[in-house]
């Protein structure tokens, strides 16, 4: 078993109330399914879409957003899966794909001591 982080990319905007409801239900269903199968290590947190970027030796501070809306990370979840393949397969149920978002699946580095 390994741990993986899902980084959700893409802001979901301009939905009607009913579409918001549907999106909510789909996310809940997906999380519930992963939880029941024991894959959720930490459901994670949502992130604000605006913030600050601190960069370089000068430590220059600039305002977000840092990228196009479709690339902004909106939250993360820590999951457990057999391997990267399984983590990828599990991510395919994420409702974010319906709004042309993306899930970045990153294995957490293992410390093989």
């Amino acid at each position: 078993m390994g741990q993986f982080v899902y980084l959700y990319r893409g802001a979901e905007r301009n939905r009607s109330p009913e579409q918001t409801q549907e999106a909510m239900q789909k996310w809940m269903a997906w999380f519930k399914q992963l939880t029941e199968k024991g894959h959720i290590k930490d459901p994670g947190q949502p992130l604000e879409f605006a913030g600050k970027l601190v960069k370089g030796k000068q430590k220059t501070v600039t305002d977000g957003p840092f990228a196009e809306a479709k690339d902004v990370i909106g939250g993360y979840t820590l999951v457990e899966a057999r391997d990267l393949n399984e983590a990828v397969e599990l991510s395919k149920g994420c409702p974010i794909f319906e709004v042309e978002g993306a899930v970045e699946v990153r294995p957490v580095m293992k410390l093989n001591m």
């Binding site: 802001a11 905007r13 109330p17 009913e18 459901p43």
Partner: protein, 431 residues
């Protein structure tokens, strides 16, 4: 979250109404942005943390915080509601002012205020209903378009024009009596009636019965009933008609998910609580001298509700109520329903006569017009002609349920042995 709850749709209406009062009616678009924003936040946060215990309060509190941000940021740059002017002069007064503007007492009549404002006489009736659906019931442009069986472009145009008229009206309708309350009330009734009908007879391609539309209309009607000036006999009649029809909704779809006509319905599935409530509203509507179409339609629904079995239906009374309705609000659909009642009362040949006397131009795309012709031809012993009518009905059917219902009727017409037994089948269409 209960999938049938439509939380966001319902809260959208409440929140936009309150925010529009706070920002001023000319800032309707800003109010909508703030609601959209609160919904996005809810979606982002709830995904991870689950739905809070009181989601409606969470949403309204989020909207309040956003409103406070907006007022702080733009208090000098943008004109808000005139009553706010003085409170926005100082940074210190903004927060307590907002707190008060979102207080339970302040938000009590917001939806009613918005409802009356949407039914502005400068707007055509269909624009008013579109606006009510869009603003108070949280329907997107696309959802309003499908409710009206209209194109999205046409509805987009209609709603944006209507919003401009609303924004130019300078202030929201005063529901405490300073404005012409009784003059505006019939338009509000009409809008809610059309909303209910859309849910009950739905022209939507997805489903024939969209219970949630009916429930929305009933929810908004309840707001009228709870307001001293709005709780008139006509409002009670409207509520009666909605409750008496809603009582039949559980029977309209049979156990296998198919549309079931009024006469075939398992009447034990009718909601007796709603029947009793509807009957109570009907009694309360019988004061004063005004007889509205809602009174008559509610009375018709009450006759059906009172017949425990289809055979006990007082069709003579129903025909005479339809006669009255034709004098108050004549329409081809009312005429068709009247003809169906006549057929029940005096036989299929008389029903056919009545249907043929209706100007059918506007009924050509209405599946139940052709289905009624098919049904009565079949009962008159002409299954070949009946089949043609049912095929025509099928060609204009608007959803799977209607299609299945009509296919079933067509199949019955094709069964030669069934011809004899069909005569005791009463109107299947008057559902």
């Amino acid at each position: 979250m209960d999938p049938n709850e439509h939380l966001f749709r319902r809260e959208a209406g409440r929140m936009v109404s309150t925010l529009t009062r706070v920002f001023g009616v000319h800032n309707l678009a800003l109010a909508e942005d703030v609601v959209q924003d609160a919904f996005c936040r809810a979606l982002e946060v709830w995904k991870f943390s689950g739905v809070p215990e009181n989601p409606a309060a969470w949403l309204m509190a989020t909207a309040k915080h956003r409103a406070l941000d907006v007022l702080r940021r733009e208090r000098t740059a943008r004109a808000f509601a005139p009553e706010l002017g003085r409170l926005l002069e100082s940074e210190w007064t903004v927060a307590p002012a907002v707190e008060e503007l979102f207080g339970a007492n302040a938000i009590k009549d917001d939806q009613l205020r918005m409802m009356f404002s949407c039914c502005n006489p400068r707007l055509a009736e269909e624009a008013q209903v579109a606006l009510v659906l869009h603003i108070l019931c949280g329907f997107s442009i696309g959802e309003v378009a499908s409710a009206f069986v209209s194109s999205e472009a046409a509805i987009e145009k209609r709603i944006s024009r209507a919003k401009k008229v609303l924004a130019r009206s300078k202030r929201l309708f005063d529901v405490r009596g300073a404005d012409d309350f009784s003059g505006r009330l019939p338009a509000v009734h009409r809008a809610l009636y059309l909303l209910f009908n859309e849910g009950y007879h739905g022209a939507s391609p997805e489903s024939a019965v969209r219970t949630e539309l009916c429930h929305e209309a009933m929810r908004l009607t309840t707001l009228l009933l709870n307001h001293p000036l709005a709780a008139t006999p006509a409002t009670h009649a409207l509520a009666a008609l909605m409750y008496l029809h809603a009582a039949r909704l559980p029977g309209r779809i049979d156990a296998s998910g198919n549309l079931s006509s009024l006469v075939d319905q398992d009447r034990s599935r009718w909601d007796s609580r709603l029947v009793a409530e509807g009957q109570r509203f009907l009694d309360l509507s019988a004061t004063g001298s005004e007889l509205t179409e809602y009174h008559v339609e509610a009375a018709i629904a009450a006759v059906h509700a009172m017949a425990r079995r289809t055979e006990n239906t007082d069709w003579g009374k129903i025909v005479s109520l339809y006669d009255t309705l034709m004098t108050i609000r004549p329409s081809p659909v009312v005429a068709l329903n009247r003809a169906i009642a006549v057929a029940q009362h005096e036989g299929p040949e008389r029903g056919l006569e009545e249907i043929r006397a209706i100007n059918s131009d506007r009924l050509a795309t209405y599946p139940f017009y052709h289905a009624a012709l098919g049904e009565f031809e079949f009962r008159s012993g002409k299954p070949e002609i009946a089949r043609e009518h049912f095929r025509r009905a099928l060609a204009v059917a608007r959803n799977l349920m209607e299609r299945r219902f009509l296919e079933d009727r067509l199949a019955v017409c094709e069964r030669p042995a069934a011809a004899g037994s069909c005569c005791d089948r009463k109107a299947r269409l008057n559902s």
